[in-house]
């Protein structure tokens, strides 16, 4: 069983420190949730792990099975098993979903190995059906002109196809209506299993009604300040984030 270990992570955007010493270990098979008010560094932290060039890791380390991934390029990290479901997936005009996912899967094969086209489409259509994505979408350009819900479903589709070991899901529930939230959550829940470690990054408890986490962490001012089980999420929902702030101030 693999694990991703985040050790005392510090991340800055330009000169501004955002994440200030975050530590967390996620094992395959576990579902974690990070909650916290806006602006505490939740999105920064996930993008930094994926290797976004705008985010500088100034201190700490991220390891998969004891091997640091910080020297790896973003694509190498992805192939090492990290998947980032973007909060705002970008539009890529002219590149069809089918070609895009195919290129991503091909990149995961050994040199000289060719992706089996028939098998690929079979798998793609099956996943699309279960996520209730129209098969016509395969020829549409990635996220181009998609609604908020369609973009999020497209993220889940890619995750289902690429089969990562660790998925960082950045505000996957934002911008979704009740139906879309249900479809997306079912999609994630469907992938849940011994081979996948999930980190749900969310502001609200409502996603956690659909996907019940094993661990809940509260992030504030660039750090995890409180950890617990699923009851912590409910407590947060009831008491609000000010409760954490006050508690933090008291300690």
């Amino acid at each position: 069983m693999s694990a991703i270990e985040i050790k005392d992570l510090h991340v800055a955007i330009g000169d501004k420190p955002i994440v200030k010493g975050l530590s967390l270990t996620i094992k395959q098979g576990e579902v974690h949730a990070i909650m916290g008010p806006n602006g505490t560094g939740k999105s920064t932290f996930s993008k930094a792990i994926a290797g976004h060039p705008d985010y500088t890791i100034t201190q700490g380390d991220v390891l998969i099975d004891g091997q640091s991934i910080l020297a790896l390029e973003p694509d190498e990290r992805a192939r090492a098993g990290i998947f980032l479901a973007f909060q705002y997936p970008c539009e890529i005009p002219g590149v069809s979903i089918a070609n895009f996912i195919r290129a991503a899967m091909q990149a995961r094969l050994k040199d000289g190995e060719e992706l089996d086209a028939t098998g690929y489409y079979k798998q793609l259509y099956a996943q699309m059906d279960s996520l209730k994505i129209d098969r016509k979408f395969t020829s549409r350009a990635v996220n181009d002109g998609f609604s908020g819900g369609e973009k999020k479903r497209c993220e889940i589709l890619q995750m289902a196809m690429l089969k990562p070991r660790f998925a960082f899901m950045d505000e996957t529930d934002s911008g979704l209506d009740i139906d879309a939230l249900r479809i997306v959550s079912e999609g994630i829940e469907h992938m849940r299993g011994a081979d996948l470690g999930i980190l749900l990054i969310t502001h609200y408890q409502r996603l956690l009604n659909h996907i019940v986490p094993d661990f809940v962490h509260v992030m504030y001012d660039g750090r995890i300040v409180k950890s617990g089980d699923k009851s912590l999420a409910l407590e947060l929902e009831a008491k609000g984030y000010d409760w954490v702030k006050t508690e933090l101030a008291a300690s």
Partner: protein, 440 residues
């Protein structure tokens, strides 16, 4: 720069009167009017100067690269090695020329010929359909500054293709024309003349290629399209001359009432390539679609000049030129939409997009409008930018390696134009040509 003051560049270079006399002597059996046209063109070529610094039509062009000496117009003979372009494409007819001489001819199917469709070498057509050819041959000019080089073409053009589709006839598969230049110093003058009568339909695919990837060659081609009322013509061309070719291409389009012409040019080859394209919309309801893709590499220069002339009311035109620039390549896009005083209700659009993939590439954009009617919808846009870093990151984050991500995004950038290619096989052929160039 001091050398240019003393150095006099010959305005005719390798194209001496002897060369022309020799060429003319070889044109036996062709109609007098055509030979006269050649003599007139030769005189025009000889007397007109090379582009100068005050020549607005050549603004931003590297004029020092336009030298006409160093070529061997008379010596090149056809190559034994013919290009395979479009050989596996389902075609209505296929003509392959090597150094201006017809080398291979897959004739038109009998049923289409029986319905009056003509796809013949120009030399044959000049003899067999003299009057018909005369009505259209050399009847329109691009008016974009390259007259001297078009005159050179007319003077020295040896052969080409004449395509005629009678009223109401549809040619279902592409008509393929391949021109190859072969040998050091070779000069080629491809000519394609297409006439579609009322409500006729056809697709023409033209390929320009060199037998040697880096041979010094010169090309000056002409492509004239006439679409009668309600006719639909698609013209798809891939210019893949050698990396050392000085290339000129003169495209002119005339679209009559309710006609629709798509001209899609892919520019890949040449040391310095000048592409002039002029669309005239002469009847209400006419539409012209002018699309181009360029992959500019090394120190290549692509000089694209376009003109959309709206002469009749209720006409529309759309132009999209997309350039991808690598290394120290240069591109020039200079386009003009002209709406003449009576062409009310014109709908014209023009767009140039430059994708910069290197720190030393240079893109020049001159999108122009000249509007003399007020009830029109005209706009243009030009953008020059790099690959979007967010898009790049998104692809990387899915595990796609950097080089491959860039290529995917590049094709994504091109897709809006490539997607307009009307036949799947042709689409794949063109895509493969681009891919081959990118692998270099």
């Amino acid at each position: 720069m001091s050398t240019s003051l003393t150095e006099t560049i010959s305005p005719t270079g390798s194209f001496t009167p002897d060369i022309f006399a020799q060429h003319l002597a070889a044109q036996t059996g062709l109609p007098d009017w055509w030979l006269d046209a050649k003599r007139t063109a030769w005189a025009q070529f000889q007397s007109s100067p090379l582009p100068t610094i005050r020549d607005e039509a050549w603004r931003f062009s590297t004029r020092s690269g336009i030298k006409l000496d160093g070529y061997a117009p008379a010596s090149a003979s056809p190559s034994a090695q013919l290009p395979a372009h479009a050989s596996d494409l389902p075609c209505a007819a296929r003509l392959v020329f090597s150094n201006n001489v017809l080398a291979q001819h897959t004739a038109l199917a009998a049923d289409l010929a029986a319905r009056g469709v003509i796809v013949e070498p120009l030399r044959d057509a000049l003899v067999k359909h003299g009057d018909l050819v005369r009505r259209y041959l050399n009847q329109q000019h691009t008016n974009l500054g390259g007259d001297k080089f078009r005159a050179l073409h007319t003077a020295l053009a040896h052969d080409g293709v004449f395509i005629y589709v009678p009223a109401g006839v549809e040619v279902p598969t592409p008509i393929a024309v391949v021109h190859q230049a072969s040998g050091a110093g070779a000069t080629v003058f491809p000519h394609t003349l297409v006439v579609a009568e009322a409500n006729a339909r056809a697709t023409i695919a033209e390929f320009f290629t060199s037998a040697e990837p880096d041979a010094v060659q010169l090309a000056s081609g002409v492509n004239d399209l006439f679409a009668g009322p309600g006719a639909q013509l698609n013209y798809i061309a891939a210019q893949a001359w050698s990396s050392q070719t000085l290339a000129f291409q003169h495209n002119a389009i005339t679209a009559d009432r309710d006609a629709r012409i798509l001209a899609l040019n892919v520019h890949l080859g040449g040391r310095q390539a000048r592409h002039e394209s002029h669309s005239r919309l002469i009847g209400p309801g006419a539409h012209s679609e002018m699309l181009a893709l360029t992959v500019a590499q090394g120190t290549q220069e692509f000089d694209q000049r376009t003109l959309q002339t709206h002469q009749a009311p209720h006409t529309s035109s759309n132009l999209l030129y997309k350039n991808a620039l690598l290394d120290s390549a240069r591109t020039i896009f200079s386009g003009l939409i002209v709406v003449e005083p009576d062409a009310q209700k014109t709908d014209a659009y023009q767009s140039n997009r430059n994708l910069m993939l290197s720190d030393t590439a240079e893109a020049n954009s001159l999108p122009g409008l000249e509007i003399q009617a007020n009830d029109v919808r005209c706009s243009h846009g030009a953008t020059t930018s790099r690959l979007d870093p967010e898009q790049e990151f998104y692809l990387l984050a899915r595990g796609i390696p950097k080089a491959q991500a860039a290529e995917l995004l590049l094709f994504g950038f091109f897709e809006k134009v490539l997607g307009e290619i009307p036949h799947e096989g042709l689409y794949q052929t063109i895509r493969a040509l681009i891919q081959t160039k990118l692998k270099k």
